[in-house]
Assembly symmetry: C2
């Protein structure tokens, strides 16, 4: 079943008509002006949102072939096989695409690992207080509240000497 075991080459198709893109069975992704498509990655088991990244055409093809998430790192300007350094690879359980085929959804298995370079399980470890139904702690409306309090790993140990990818 795994893509790495071979089978017919996967093809990207041209975007001919809105009807075909929205209602068809051909994969015809739209890459933006920088050649990138956004990728939403969730935990296939918990459903939790793990991260939001980008792929270029090569990263998309590699991900499909390998059955593991390969992104394009905008901060490093290179292909990024997620987990190559940390060991926390993201095994693809399912890859979906949206209506106009300009966003990819990866449902992945991280096998107990983390997906955030800061060390948390998910990159989304803070909620905005007082928005929607999220409760407000005293006098802290609009501030961030941590939804994860324990890091899964210590970034200094896992990425020794590496530059932080966060750009101000």
């Amino acid at each position: 079943m795994n893509g790495a075991t071979g089978g017919k080459a996967r093809e990207l198709h041209p975007r001919i008509s809105v009807e075909e893109v929205e209602e068809g069975r051909e994969l015809a992704p739209k890459f933006d002006g920088d050649g990138l498509i956004p990728v939403v990655t969730t935990d296939a088991h918990s459903g939790e949102l793990l991260m939001h990244g980008y792929m270029n055409r090569e990263a998309l093809m590699r991900s499909m072939e390998l059955g593991e998430a390969v992104y394009w790192s905008r901060s490093r300007g290179q292909l990024w096989h997620k987990g190559a350094t940390s060991g926390f690879t993201q095994r693809i359980v399912e890859m979906l695409i949206d209506d106009d085929q300009d966003t990819v959804w990866l449902r992945v298995d991280v096998q107990g690992g983390a997906s955030c370079h800061v060390g948390y399980r998910s990159c989304f470890y803070r909620r905005i207080q007082g928005v929607g139904e999220a409760p407000v702690l005293a006098d802290t409306e609009g501030e961030l509240e941590f939804t994860e309090t324990e890091k899964v790993f210590d970034p200094e140990e896992v990425y020794p000497g590496a530059d932080n990818p966060t750009v101000l």
Copy 2:
């Protein structure tokens, strides 16, 4: 609890240091060169990914105040209070932000409605066959398989005369 009921004005803070952005409690979102931040929207109950959109600064502030999702429509070039036409508003249950604060996660309640202009519940109604663990139907590897087969609404009835937002 709902933002519309008032309370302290929510502020966006400057991005001073990587440490403060990643580990701090101040909301300091990064808008890209077009003034936009990507938004991942999931169903707060099922966890399903509903859509991927964008907000500019005003849309973010309006969403926080209103407690409902307000996006920036790139195809129309205007603020887009989701559901204003279709009736399928997205009530915000929780709003989160990621490590480097360049992506927003909305967990929403769509109260039985749909979030996709094509009529499906989710915009992600097609999986790519043969990738990861997704099964391959005979001779269709790399093709899209529909994961939703019933539309929640008929777009022609809900958006009469409207232009399709999908751009080739």
